[in-house]
Symmetry: D2
Subunit: 178 residues, 4 copies
């Protein structure tokens, strides 16, 4: 299985990316840092006659990566009890590309397997649950299998390296993905 | 009470704004459409020595508006079971301004009253609940009173005008706010 | 539409029942107070050879009432952030009666419309949401339409009579049900 | 640390109890099967002059066990997306004993550490989350530390023995509790 990590962090080498890469250690994978890409917010044109028009940014490059991989691992720090803004802008644009006949996006999403990694403070184990529920609704909507999620504890850089329960879970994913 | 509507919609005259303005009909209020403003995503500098530095965008203009109003009415369509990307980017930047000594942001937020309007499809009544929980955690974090929320039903333009339960609720807010 | 109120309260004339009966004021309806009935907890026999056997209590009497009505209005105070114990025991036994060929329970539930009334303290508006989600999963499981829910505020006897938003909502249900 | 498992299952040797006992393997612990005890539902007397009066059942025996242990491990199968009825009746009665001056219940609960084990079908990982949120609100209310939770997959007897992720988590709890 080919693996694509979609990272929502806006910090280099953060806890979220650490956990995500632990889960795929030794396995071929690609990482896209959404914050490093130019992703414009959606402009909702669903109810207009002209519909959506192509946008000048890096979106289609990411789209091509998604189409090519079997497993999508969404990794985001908990920002204000949700996914990061760059990741949210990324998802919002799905409304556009699910309608774009140039890409078999809708059909392909159904075949993907989704994993979610969240990291946050010591209360993320509870306060991250609405975000897990949101991810679930997203994946349900596009008929993508939601295989598993994990919520790691880590605020300051390096914190999550001490969250041995999350590290154990990363190991078990590694086995499953290998 | 002075009222500020912070609108996350990316469409003009949408259902969300319709409901939000119904709630403040006849009362002085200001509307900011976040999608019309230049709001850059956060870059997480919390754990660096230099910290955050000023950003060239429209954020501080919105901040000044927040400081001046007593009631913040957050209005967002349900995009992928969350708030819209532009509104998420708006919240993410709170992490920066809560640390910016040029503004009494932290102290002032505690005195505000928050209302939330969400609109979405017929399942928003349920699938919008994780977003309500997220808003609650946000407001708890900054010690702002979460007075009430409503979830209106409306996908296509004009739909929500037929959601009489939401319109009734807007009326009761109007009474409370007046 | 014939209406059955299934009440989970363990107190007479409580806030929950007040709201529920407001919603059906002037409309023919039946009220069952689950706490007044003898409802034994489930004993899970799903995985045994003999399966479930008939239980000596009042359950089948309630079952007959359910079968006869079109609208089921579940009304429960928020006890420890969930439905009351007597109501939970009531739902648990569904596992038995969905398998009991003497009753067309499974087929009939699909035709019912469900309403939910919860009352609780001032934080019930948020802390009652997991219970709303639970009710939603229950109704989804049996393919019953979940029409609407309301969360009233009321701890002490009579409190909810001052929750005019809940009373407004009860009125709008009354119109819908009439 | 002395450990008390409060089991909500109504089946012998079920998946939930299997996971819970794995977590405490090799450590001294006590198991109470709530369904085997006579626990009467609460009768809400909070707002009456006379208040609660003693109830003839096994409750005080369980109360004494709680007072004597440091760690409370709540283990329940997911019944209709919530805790089992016998466990719900158990919690409802807390309203009575938090007011009963014969027991230092309120003070002692603050010193306990809570763990939660849930098992359910393959969707329990998501549909069990409202129950986790409910447990969290319960523990918050009584100021008890909510250390961790796990959601195992297992419907039929023995299923959970194949949920190696849950078993790994049980191991990590075992280390933490030992």
């Amino acid at each position: 299985m080919s693996i694509l990590i979609l990272s929502g962090s806006t910090r280099k080498n953060g806890n979220t990316e650490y956990l995500a890469t632990k889960a795929v250690e030794g396995l071929p994978h690609t990482v896209v840092s959404l914050a490093d890409k130019n992703i414009k917010p959606i402009v909702d044109m669903r109810h207009t006659e002209e519909g959506f028009s192509p946008v000048e940014d890096d979106y289609e490059e990411i789209l091509q990566l998604i189409l090519k991989h079997d497993v999508l691992l969404f990794a985001t720090p908990l920002y204000w009890y949700g996914m990061s803004g760059p990741m949210k802008d990324f998802f919002d644009r799905w409304s556009q590309y699910l309608r774009d006949e140039r890409f078999p996006f809708k059909e392909e999403l159904k075949k993907k397997k989704a994993y979610v990694v969240i990291t946050g403070g010591s209360d993320a184990n509870i306060k991250g649950l609405p975000l897990i529920q949101q991810f679930n609704y997203i994946f349900e909507f596009v008929n993508m299998e939601f295989v598993d999620y994990m919520i790691g504890v880590g605020g300051k850089p390096g914190d999550v390296e001490h969250d041995y329960k999350a590290l154990e879970k990363a190991k078990s994913w590694n086995k499953q993905l290998g």
